[in-house]
């Protein structure tokens, strides 16, 4: 019965069956040229069957293992199976897609090897969640086309490579911890822990025991030794957020850690040596606090070895469209939705808004819209109420000409980028005084 059924299957039946499965499936001949490519493989790779068939599989898939340890080649050579190997492939839009692959040998009716088969399962939705849980963020997770962030990208690997203390200054919601994690994950310390603590969230006594730990008997409830964050992060990185909130007493203790590389757990009679890198973050201008006398100058100088200044979102408005796109992709994976984009009116409104809560606020707005939107395009009425009641001054419409202000901003950016943000050359090309250029740059948040 079964063998009769299999015999009755035509090639067309097989194609229909393979096209209906959710996993990507492709086959290769013994030269590694693709002989079959199903619909799901088209969807995952972004390459059509016509483009793929006849090509070498490594030129189509662009997996990170193709050159060094191709699983399919391994299956063909050893005549064994590879099951659920996690790799990433590169799509033609430059995005890396995590996939799980399985490979096996294909044989003809006589049992002769004729090629191989590989299946691909898209792991993007799981990776989004895993990244959130493990906080395994790298530079590539920082979404930006803005020139100020690009300048930071250029220096970040060098900063990571060094062991210097870093001070990240930026408003709430601007991604300070994301940058700190990217520095840690790029650094030689990345095999050790990254431990974050918000200095503003804990009272002084609790913060001291959290940072430095305590020994048994240090206080009434100290029944046993408890290591602090500095001990737990041994060999890794401690991220001190809202460092401006440290009390004068805690500032002295932190200064000692940075200067002497040692600390004393509560109740201990001797100091403990520490081997951690400190990355501190603040939303205030610490130098002003030093001038006010509310922050120690010696601690400031110890922290301010390498400083990164993150801009407000309204100072990098050019990033809003790609951030919106990023959050839509993220929530599509997290909430298993298929929202495609925001409407022109929504984007116009977002581009005009000042975002006091910065990127976090934009993320919250998109998340709110995901809850409200049942279709594929986020409309004005899906936004939080304070948004939906705002009217865009000039709704985006592809048929309409570009608004004058937007055109001016576009031209400014284009000429600035052409001259590598050299203001003198830009002003000269535009035929305006440098002061006018600065005024216009400020006006457009450039």
């Amino acid at each position: 019965m079964n063998s009769k059924f299999y015999e009755s299957l035509t090639e067309n039946h097989t194609n229909i069956i393979l096209d209906s499965v959710a996993d990507g499936v492709f086959t290769v001949d013994e030269d590694m040229r693709i002989t079959y490519f199903n619909r799901a493989a088209e969807k995952i790779t972004g390459i059509t069957r016509d483009q793929a068939v006849g090509q070498f599989c490594f030129d189509i898939l662009k997996a990170n293992i193709c050159e060094k340890s191709c699983a399919l080649r391994c299956s063909l050579e050893s005549e064994s199976e590879v099951v659920n190997k996690h790799v990433n492939i590169l799509r033609t839009d430059g995005k890396q897609i995590p996939v799980s692959i399985s490979t096996a040998v294909l044989r003809d009716e006589e049992g002769n090897k004729v090629g191989g088969v590989e299946t691909l399962r898209d792991l993007s939705p799981f990776e989004v969640l895993q990244k959130e849980i493990r906080c395994a963020y790298t530079l590539e997770d920082i979404i930006s086309k803005n020139h100020r962030i690009r300048q930071i990208f250029d220096i970040l690997p060098n900063i990571a490579e060094s062991d210097s203390t870093v001070l990240i200054q930026g408003p709430s919601g601007s991604g300070k911890e994301l940058f700190a994690r990217a520095i840690h994950n790029l650094s030689p310390r990345n095999q050790h822990a990254f431990i974050a603590i918000n200095c503003g969230a804990l009272p002084d006594t609790l913060l001291e025991s959290e940072l430095f730990g305590y020994v048994k008997g240090a206080f009434t409830d100290a029944k046993k030794n408890k290591p602090g964050r500095f001990a737990l992060a041994k060999g890794g990185t401690v991220f001190l957020d809202e460092v401006e909130s440290l009390s004068p007493a805690m500032q002295v203790k932190l200064l000692r850690v940075l200067q002497e590389k040692e600390f004393e757990p509560l109740g201990a009679i001797s100091a403990v040596q520490t081997d951690v890198r400190v990355i501190a973050a603040t939303k205030n201008v610490l130098s002003e606090m030093v001038n006010d006398g509310t922050f120690r100058d010696d601690l400031f100088f110890r922290l301010n070895v390498v400083k990164l200044e993150l801009p407000l979102l309204r100072e990098r408005r050019d990033d809003i469209p790609i951030l919106v796109e990023h959050f839509i992709e993220k929530f599509n994976h997290k909430m298993r939705r298929r929202i495609e984009s925001v409407s022109g009116n929504v984007l116009q409104l977002l581009m005009q808004y000042d975002f006091p809560g910065n990127i976090r606020e934009l993320e919250n707005i998109i998340e709110h819209a995901f809850v409200m939107c049942r279709g594929e395009i986020i409309q004005l009425h899906h936004l939080p109420i304070e948004f939906s009641q705002r009217k865009p001054t000039n709704p985006l419409n592809q048929q309409e000409p570009m608004p004058l202000q937007a055109a001016e901003q576009h031209l400014l950016r284009e000429v600035l980028e052409k001259h590598d943000w050299n203001k003198v050359a830009t002003a000269k090309e535009l035929g305006v005084h440098r002061a006018t250029l600065y005024r216009k740059m400020k006006k457009h948040g450039l």
């Binding site: 059509t48 662009k62 050159e67 590169l90 839009d93 530079l139 250029d154 690997p157 990571a160």
Partner: protein, 108 residues
């Protein structure tokens, strides 16, 4: 003089820049190759690879797959990128010298 880099895998262009282990460096003057070198990138993580590529003093990078991040960072360094090229490295170099090299990025 122009310096051109082509990541290679055997005699073919590497399928992915960030995973490539060897880069062919070619100096070109008056349409002729005047010098060839190979730079080994094995055992280097992708970000160090990026830093190394950015500091090789190259004017043009001919490659196959390139991540959006690599493309942006190398463009920031004013390196002209000709991406999504597949095939044999020598053929590609010849096409480049003759001005007949076309990017093959499949449309999504």
């Amino acid at each position: 003089m122009q310096r051109v880099a082509i990541p290679v895998f055997g005699d073919r262009i590497s399928n992915r820049l960030d995973c490539s282990e060897n880069v062919l460096l070619v100096s070109i003057e008056n349409g002729q190759v005047i010098k060839r070198d190979t730079c080994h990138l094995a055992e280097i993580d992708s970000f160090s690879k990026l830093g190394l590529l950015a500091n090789l003093g190259i004017d043009v990078l001919i490659c196959n797959g390139i991540t959006e991040f690599f493309e942006n960072r190398l463009s920031d360094r004013h390196i002209q990128i000709i991406p999504w090229i597949s095939g044999e490295a020598e053929t590609i170099l010849e096409q480049y010298l003759q001005g007949t090299l076309l990017t093959e990025k499949p449309s999504r």
